[in-house]
């Protein structure tokens, strides 16, 4: 009798161990699933943040504007901005914010700034609004 009892006890212990192992594996699987889910969620968030980014900032260098007649530099600088935005975004209409035009010729029409940081925003079908990018 005593042997039978011992065997039963052993079996019970083995079963317990098995169930414990199974539970552990299940827990691990759940953890991995959660990790993958969180990673996916993070990826989606990143994507959404990328999509939500409306303004595209770029620096326009007026090096080539300085060549040529001095009195039409400001005009040429604005033309250059239009050309660059047209080339980069495939834009048909480029609207330039008056503040940006003012910022270019802060030191006068003959002595324009060397570089300007612009923020470009899409406002319609092939229409873009260009503003001065201000550091926050």
């Amino acid at each position: 009798m005593s042997e039978q009892v011992q065997q039963e006890v052993k079996k019970e212990e083995e079963q317990k161990q098995l169930t414990e192992k199974q539970e552990e594996t299940k827990k691990e699987e759940k953890k991995e699933e959660r990790k993958t889910q969180t990673k996916e969620v993070e990826k989606e968030r990143k994507k959404s943040t990328k999509k939500e980014k409306e303004n595209f900032e770029m620096v326009v260098n007026f090096r080539r504007v300085f060549m040529g007649r001095r009195t039409v530099r400001a005009k040429r600088a604005i033309k250059l901005i239009r050309y660059i935005v047209h080339r980069h975004f495939d834009a048909e209409k480029v609207i330039i914010d008056p503040l940006l035009a003012r910022a270019i010729s802060t030191n006068g029409k003959d002595k324009i700034v060397r570089k300007v940081r612009i923020a470009v925003k899409k406002v319609g079908e092939k229409t873009y609004l260009v503003r001065l990018a201000i550091k926050q």
Binding site: I84, R87, H88, F89, D90
Partner: protein, 223 residues
């Protein structure tokens, strides 16, 4: 169509190092496994790792389409052997002409080819013979002589220099029998071949290509 960013040898000008068609990709030897996996994943081709004329600028020196790979006369025998052994489905032709940067001077897909305008008649005939079709003509794109460097054209679509006129674009589109679009790569570079590698399965662009540029590329190469 998958579009992905890539940078090799620490530069964004990936097009000068890589040549691809729908079956094979030829590129110099790289130890970085991630880069190779990425190329295989996007372009879905077999990769042949070799130099051409002891130079790693494979994209500049090699040209071709899905049926033929054109290599310059300066290629070494060992390199030719490696390419021929690996690429058994396609013909590998050595073009015996004076210029050796075939990637720069020949722009072709399976239907037609546009070549450098200063090639002689004999050289043009040799290119026709090695390509295997008669629809080969001399020409320029946006007044640039090296036609291979300013455009990438596959059997489905293509991207051309941004300063090309509408008439020119329509002409090219009719000539190659694919829809074409204009654009830039690598933050404003108009030399598209230097920053873009494409076949019918996917597109790789240089890592400094901006969001709006990638959108234009996706629009151009989408089915």
């Amino acid at each position: 169509m998958i579009v992905d960013k890539l940078s090799i040898f620490g530069t964004d000008n990936i097009g000068v190092f890589i040549f691809t068609n729908d079956k094979y990709t030829i590129m110099p030897k790289i130890d970085d496994k991630e880069v190779i996996e990425k190329i295989q994943e996007v372009l879905k081709t077999e990769i042949i790792q070799t130099t051409v004329a002891r130079s790693i600028l494979v994209g500049v020196l090699v040209s071709g389409n899905n049926d033929t790979i054109l290599v310059p006369k300066t290629i070494l025998d060992d390199e030719l052997k490696i390419i021929k052994e690996a690429a058994k489905d396609v013909r590998v032709e050595v073009v015996n002409i004076k210029p050796t940067a075939l990637g720069n001077i020949i722009l072709c897909n399976t239907n037609a080819a546009l070549v450098y305008p200063e090639l002689t008649d004999i050289e043009l005939e040799r290119i026709k013979k090695s390509l295997g079709f008669e629809k080969v003509k001399r020409g320029t794109i946006a007044n640039i002589l090296t036609v291979g460097s300013v455009a990438v054209i596959t059997n489905k679509a293509g991207l051309v220099h941004v300063d090309v006129t509408e008439e020119e674009l329509n002409e090219l589109s009719e000539f190659f029998k694919v829809k074409l679009d204009t654009g830039t790569v690598n933050f404003g570079s108009a030399f598209i071949r230097s920053g873009l590698v494409a076949n019918s399965n996917g597109v790789l662009v240089g890592s400094s290509t901006t969001g709006p540029e990638i959108l234009r590329i996706q629009r151009a190469f989408s089915d």
